[in-house]
């Protein structure tokens, strides 16, 4: 289980997150939607300590951290439980696809080089990148790079994978291949938190949709309820503008 309580985050005097509470069951897929600047990406990055939140608690699979009092060990324990997929892929530019996936395993899981590479070959094949193992990021399309990013996260077998707008940098025709890989991850019952602008994706595959605005969770529920019968005015307005755009 993932349990986040009362998460507050500010940059100097600018308050970005104003008390987020969120509970996620194992295997659940949660899509976070909301307007730009609502704090949804920041929230995601606070979960694995890429951003430091100042107040609140984070609990993932039995590891509980009080944000007002924690150590490096806590950060490392939480990061072991989390994988992340970045908007701009975040692949190591000096490493080929294979080593992007195998090196983190080798370095952080006490695995031999050979074992780590075997695992990487297998996982890259699972995301449809057989034959691309020795390509460097520059020689991969955006969709392929993002699939390597997902493979890298999967290789570490984390409790939860955090997706930070995984398709926002992609050309429309490449979005599909990444979403398909994400769907296959969902089928493997992995817990996922996905910050996304892909409303169709959120609607069709998420177990729950969370709508954030101005640093708070405005509304959350089953995709069907949020998209077809939003209760809050902010949510209605956001979804209306979104439907308008896609027409």
């Amino acid at each position: 289980m993932i349990k986040i309580t009362n998460l507050h985050k500010s940059y100097g005097s600018t308050v970005v997150l104003k008390g987020i509470d969120l509970e996620i069951a194992e295997g659940e897929v949660v899509a976070i939607i909301g307007p730009s600047g609502s704090g949804k990406s920041t929230f995601l990055r606070c979960i694995n300590f890429l951003e430091e939140a100042q107040v609140g608690t984070i609990e993932i699979d039995g590891i509980k951290v009080d944000l007002e009092n924690y150590t490096k060990k806590h950060v490392s324990d939480i990061r072991k439980k989390t994988g992340m997929v970045f908007q701009n892929y975040g692949l190591f530019k000096n490493k080929n696809a294979l080593h992007n996936v195998s090196e983190p395993v080798r370095l952080t899981r006490n695995t031999s080089r050979q074992e780590a590479e075997q695992l990487a070959y297998k996982i890259l094949a699972n995301v449809g990148l057989q034959g691309k193992e020795h390509n460097y990021p520059v020689a991969l399309s955006g969709g392929q790079q993002q699939r390597v990013g997902i493979a890298r996260a999967l290789a570490l077998d984390p409790y939860v994978i955090l997706f930070d707008e995984p398709t926002s940098s992609l050309d429309p025709e490449l979005v599909e291949e990444v979403l398909n890989v994400m769907k296959s991850v969902i089928n493997s019952k992995r817990t996922m938190i996905v910050v996304t602008h892909e409303m169709d994706f959120a609607q069709s595959v998420a177990d729950r949709v969370v709508f954030m605005a101005d640093g708070v969770i405005i509304e959350q529920g089953a995709p069907k309820d949020i998209f077809q019968n939003p209760q809050n005015e902010r949510t209605q307005k956001f979804l209306r503008s979104y439907l308008h755009k896609s027409k």
Partner: protein, 227 residues
């Protein structure tokens, strides 16, 4: 017009004999400059207390005072205050002066190379639970090195050429040899042209090696060579 071509050619073996000392001073200074530059860049990057303002003065001095004057200050001047330095030999003085001066310049090269590596590269390392040191070693530094090679290579060539100042404090190098020959024969043009051509050739060879090295480290970043 008087130009003794044969005499000039005959100087080549005489002068080239001192190539090892030139390469020794130049290469050692360059390697030390890399270490100094790297340490400086880390101090600058982290704005380390006390050291940072001191460093800014050192860097400003190194960049602002001509190389020759720095060598003189170090070799003739410093022993006046610290007598223990009077045992320092001329070659050591040149190496210290050149490495400090170029270390100051290289610190800027490394600093900007660190800045040029995308922040997301570091975040990606942290997201897979690498330690700071693992991130630096496996992802950040290789990219910093790649970015630094072209400018650092230029500094190496500059240092090699600057070693020709060493003769002014009594180091017997290629320049000193050429000057001696010229003084004996009064054929200044031939002697200085010869030593100039040798330096020129060295820099051509080094530029060539540098471009080979650049080509090799750029490999992961080129599209066309990958299938």
């Amino acid at each position: 017009m008087k130009f003794d071509f044969e005499y000039m050619l005959s100087l080549f073996p005489e002068i080239i004999k001192f190539l090892p000392i030139v390469l020794y001073i130049g290469t050692l200074s360059f390697l030390l400059a890399i270490v100094i530059g790297f340490v400086f860049s880390i101090i600058i990057k982290n704005k380390v207390k006390i050291l940072y303002p001191i460093l800014k003065v050192i860097i400003s001095y190194s960049r602002g005072v001509p190389t020759l004057i720095q060598i003189f200050i170090l070799y003739f001047g410093v022993p006046q205050i610290f007598p223990s330095f009077s045992s320092m030999n001329a070659i050591t003085a040149v190496i210290i002066a050149l490495s400090l001066r170029n270390g100051a310049y290289l610190s800027e090269v490394f600093r900007s190379a660190f800045l040029a590596v995308d922040k997301e590269q570091y975040e990606a390392c942290l997201s897979v639970n690498m330690t700071k040191w693992q991130a630096l070693r496996t992802v950040i530094l290789p990219q910093v090195v790649r970015i630094s090679i072209p400018p650092a290579g230029n500094y190496y060539i500059m240092i090699i050429k600057d070693t020709s100042l060493a003769f002014t404090i009594g180091v017997i190098d290629m320049m000193a040899r050429a000057k001696l020959e010229a003084a004996v024969s009064y054929k200044f043009l031939e002697a200085y042209l010869m030593v100039g051509i040798i330096y020129w050739m060295i820099s051509i060879v080094l530029s060539f090696l540098q471009s080979k090295l650049e080509h090799a480290v750029e490999k992961p970043y080129r599209k066309e060579e990958l299938k």
